[in-house]
Assembly symmetry: none
Homo-oligomer: 240 residues x 2
């Protein structure tokens, strides 16, 4: 899976250098030197990660970062910031604003690529083919294999993407609408109830034990809110 990177930088020679190296490593690169445009591109191009220079035209990097974090569509888009060496105050402000990692200039292109891979591995494990794991469920995104307690689970493509989304954000509750956005795509119109049916199919597949019996259900229904992946057993809950 090719990852798309939005590079926000206004030093032309640096843009060339970085673009060259990223593309060599198999990333798609979208570029701009303008803060306002960066926000637009982040929405439209749906990049998997943003590299953001702190000193850019038209909007400071920190402001771009803040706005990206505030917009729902980009709220958890990975951001790597670039700062001048030793500028610790900026670095800390950046992390506090919501950047996920930083590089100090000058940097080696190799290291930049390594860090980008690390951030993607951490925040978008699926992109790097790493394994996702949660409470006995394992997903190998490259091999498209899912196991529960060691046994292989058979999933259709949609159920696979659905489970992947849950595994990438364990514990968090998603509305049907959010799931449709994330799993089906922002521009596909399907009934919200469709989510229920796929949840059902996913549960059936994931909770099937070896002998045909049911295992604990790791998908929690939150009435009038949505669904979440959740390891808390019902037995630990207090009855109403």
């Amino acid at each position: 899976m090719r990852a798309k990177i939005l590079l926000v930088e206004d030093d032309a020679s640096l843009v060339e250098l970085v673009t060259y190296n990223l593309e060599k490593e198999g990333f798609d690169v979208v570029r701009t030197g303008d803060g306002e445009e960066a926000l637009t591109l982040a929405e439209e191009e749906k990049p998997d990660l943003v590299i953001l220079d702190w000193m850019i035209a038209n909007l400071s990097g920190i402001e771009v970062c803040r706005r990206l974090r505030r917009a729902p569509a980009t709220a958890n888009l990975p951001i790597v910031m670039l700062t001048a060496r030793g500028d610790e105050a900026d670095r800390i402000r950046g992390l506090e604003t919501g950047a996920d990692d930083y590089m100090t200039k000058p940097f080696s292109p190799r290291e930049l690529v390594a860090r980008i891979r690390a951030v993607l591995r951490r925040l978008r494990p699926a992109l790097q083919g790493g394994a996702l794991e949660f409470a006995g469920i394992t997903m190998d995104t490259t091999a498209h294999r899912v196991t529960r307690d060691g046994r292989t689970v058979q999933l259709g493509p949609t159920e696979f993407r659905l489970l992947r989304h849950f595994l990438e954000h364990p514990g968090r509750v998603f509305s049907r609408e959010q799931l449709l956005d994330a799993v089906w795509g922002r521009d596909v119109y399907v009934e919200q109830r469709t989510v229920d049916v796929h949840i059902r199919r996913l549960r059936k597949a994931v909770n099937a034990g070896p002998g045909g019996e049911e295992l604990a259900d790791l998908i929690r229904t939150v009435r009038s809110a949505g669904y979440s992946l959740d390891a808390t057993p019902v037995s630990a809950q207090v009855a109403a």
Copy 2:
């Protein structure tokens, strides 16, 4: 909200330095230098984040990380690892095993704090803005989860919103009318007595103890005024 951090590190002077800085920044710190003990503490102390040195006694950091990820109770506990500078192989292995971030030694304490906040913000939005807490009651609005003294409390949608409103304004008394406005919506007409019923249901759920007995009632009835969330026990209120 105070976050609790488990520090797994065996270099005594580093432990002191980090502990000092974390506590100064408002974190609670639990410490150990032992891998086995780290696993126990992670279960028992329920920390919000673990700082894990890669070189520790009794179990390697990587093994601790792996086991934390495997146990349901700690499967998505944020982990920040500490590695020696330039030890890239370890770093990659760590991230692949499930660490959420890393710091290379030596590091600045300020930056450690900033990174911890960044990780918590990303993985536990609950702790930053999504989580509400009062007198043993915890509400994680992103996970849609409520606990009392650590035990999960099961609430219906209306009770959830009602409790959230109280938690957002602890101690304040709300009339039935205000509650209808805030929780039901300004344009819904329902009987004011309906509030009583939902208060009743909320009390029942929140005050239910593990064995079926009643815990202290945290919802105070203010006669002819309304209700409030209040930790003051009745016995301490009136001097007859």
